[in-house]
Assembly symmetry: C2
Homo-oligomer: 406 residues x 2
């Protein structure tokens, strides 16, 4: 019998207990031993709930219990999760987390501490809940030089963009619907401004580079400026508009960022709609691959935590190396990053010849329903160059980066 504890009995934490108990047959078969949740750490009492007898309020009860070998950290946020996780790892207990905030902030350090104490810090559930992307990068693709990881890693924004695409609705309208349905939070900033996605791409690009990518160093743009007009053009171009969290190897450096992109409907990522997530990975030998599933939700996320609990249980006393050092990764300066751009221009301020004069070679796109404007699809140029050109042209209504691949 392997004894485990759960830190934080909220949505995900209670899901972890449920998956371990409802699928106990599968867990036992996978581990070769039963796994039992002995404690739940939470400030609440849960009077009348069957979990009541296992609830403790003091982390030291768990950390000092030599029977406990594995902990699920499903508290979220930096503190006290950081302090509690360090204590647990220093006591030689493996920690399996869904806490992207903590992993993005302290992942490399916590992996080192786990290594020093012959245990493991696993975080499959921190990115793309129901998609085993972390294990894929750390185990299935370790032989590859990874060239790109680009993902749709936030379900709320993907739901909103999918609805805007299908229904022609405005951003504010769809956000309100999403809030009413519980798909978006009352304070939706973390999702719609890309703050959630940028933490996830910091984690993925750290694993890609083997060094630490700080999300505070990355360019991040959300979806609040995306309009129903943008989708009219996108449809004409056979494209979707997706919030991409993307990391690419550029020479010996890495470019990681979050922004909306126009993406061909033939690109595999374009098939991820509604609340689904997908992560596209390109390796030097493997070429293109993609991993698709539910990015959030109680049971898919809890299932990912339990997959880590099983891996930890199969490797008690044995640290499995993860390629993520504390040294900072070398990043491409955002202003030097190169992209193609879609630019909407007001005809009252500039004509097509003027657009060509400013942006250089490119393609004019028009939509019947929008007679007072046109769009210009530029060739590839640096962010700095584009920003200067855009500032020099009157009548620019909006701009979106374009992924030119089919």
């Amino acid at each position: 019998m392997i004894k485990a504890a759960v830190f934080g009995y909220g949505n995900i934490g209670s899901g972890v207990v449920r998956v371990i108990e409802e699928n106990a047959d599968r867990v036992e078969k996978a581990v070769g031993d039963k796994v039992e949740v002995k404690y739940v750490l939470d400030l609440r009492e849960f009077e009348g709930d069957p979990i009541r007898s296992r609830v403790v309020h003091d982390v030291d009860v768990i950390v000092n219990d030599p029977e406990i070998q594995i902990i699920s950290e499903t508290m979220g946020g930096n503190e006290p999760a950081y302090t509690f996780t360090k204590k647990a790892l220093e006591a030689g207990k493996s920690v399996c987390t869904s806490n992207k905030e903590l992993v993005a902030n302290h992942g490399a350090e916590l992996i080192r501490i786990a290594a020093e104490h012959h245990c493991n810090y696993f975080f499959e559930a921190s990115v793309g809940g129901g998609i085993p992307i972390i294990r894929t990068i750390n185990e299935a693709l370790t032989q590859e030089h990874l060239l790109e990881i680009s993902g749709i890693v936030n379900g709320t924004t993907n739901y909103i963009l999918t609805k805007m695409d299908r229904e022609g609705a405005a951003f504010d309208t769809v956000l309100k619907q999403a809030q009413d349905l519980g798909y978006a939070e009352r304070n939706p900033e973390a999702d719609i401004e890309g703050y959630d996605a940028v933490r996830k791409i910091a984690i993925l690009s750290s694993l890609m580079s083997g060094q630490n990518v700080n999300y505070e160093d990355l360019h991040v743009e959300g979806i609040t400026k995306i309009s129903s007009e943008d989708f009219l053009y996108a449809a004409k171009l056979n494209r979707s508009i997706k919030l991409l969290a993307t990391a690419k190897k550029v020479g010996e450096k890495y470019l990681a960022m979050v922004a909306p992109f126009m993406l061909s409907k033939d690109h595999p990522l374009a098939s991820a709609n509604d609340v689904f997530n997908a992560v596209f990975v390109k390796g030097d030998m493997l070429d293109d691959s993609m991993y698709y599933g539910r990015g959030a939700g109680k049971l898919p996320t809890a299932s990912a935590v339990v997959a880590d609990v099983i891996e930890a249980a199969r490797n008690l006393g044995r640290h499995l190396p993860i390629n993520w050092e504390e040294q900072p990764a070398k990043l491409v300066a955002f202003e030097d990053a190169k992209h193609c751009f879609f630019v909407r221009i007001d005809r009252a301020s500039a004509d097509e010849a003027k657009a060509k004069e400013v942006f250089g070679k490119g393609e004019v796109v028009t939509v019947d329903a929008l007679a007072n404007e046109f769009a210009y699809l530029t060739e590839e140029m640096s962010e700095k160059e584009f920003a200067a050109k855009k500032a020099s042209l009157n009548g620019v209504l909006s701009a979106i980066r374009v992924d030119k691949r089919a």
Copy 2:
């Protein structure tokens, strides 16, 4: 230094050597030690090739060399691969294979032999070359009760169907083009009749059930009867036609089969086009997920073999359990399997009222270009029931199963 050998220096085997040597930095980092290919077993001499000095013709040189700890079996076919693999495992050497034929025929037995000799028999590359689906099932999803695994697992047929869909071309025309381009073999039977796909779904459904599924017990239909007319209807229905290898849990039994299906273009599998493969997996907690990539090709397949070599190197002397017993899995009799059907009917022989009388409730579909016929989309019924109804109606031109999901 870990010493390895490669059985069979063909397309995949030479790729394995290339990945291990070109990506030696990645392999060393993942393993924590260098991996060297000491021998290549092949009947040929490879005069003038740098590999020449490592070529041996006698398997016993490799099996009796105590330095060798890991073998890539990339010979293909049952014999002598089966005999050589058994010898290697019995000598305690882990074997990593791309040989779907051997895995489908003897997987459960070879896993047992590996367990008895504290080594591993890994076969990531046997299904969906560049897609880490085997590792995903065996490691990332072990906590799940899997409800469905459905895949597009043959690149040749997917290429042909994609071309027929996009260009409206006939099967024979596209097959000839595919042969000229090298995407289809001169003797294409194994691909177009579904014999390749059925071996792969036998492997996947064995892992799903934990017991042995013999591909000879499964229903298999290829794509030779799919016509350009079928694609006209599919387009009208917003569907693709895909050769699906599918396994579903039905009560306590499993239904596994290979056949063309009409699939909604909104289903994630429909985004796998050309030679790409994709595998859809539904679990009880995880819900829907999908894994997409190159299904074949020298380097993607070799990369998958090398991922297994790394896993074997990380676990020398330690058998990692795989849930696949030799006991036969309980299968649903094909005639009892339930599907919806798309049926093309010649108007000269039967009208829409007659179709409804025979097939019961359903939907009539017509296409302007095909005035002399119509199609009928039935509700769900058993294969036995459908076969009887179809036989009782004159004028049935063709029939394809329909996956009714969005």
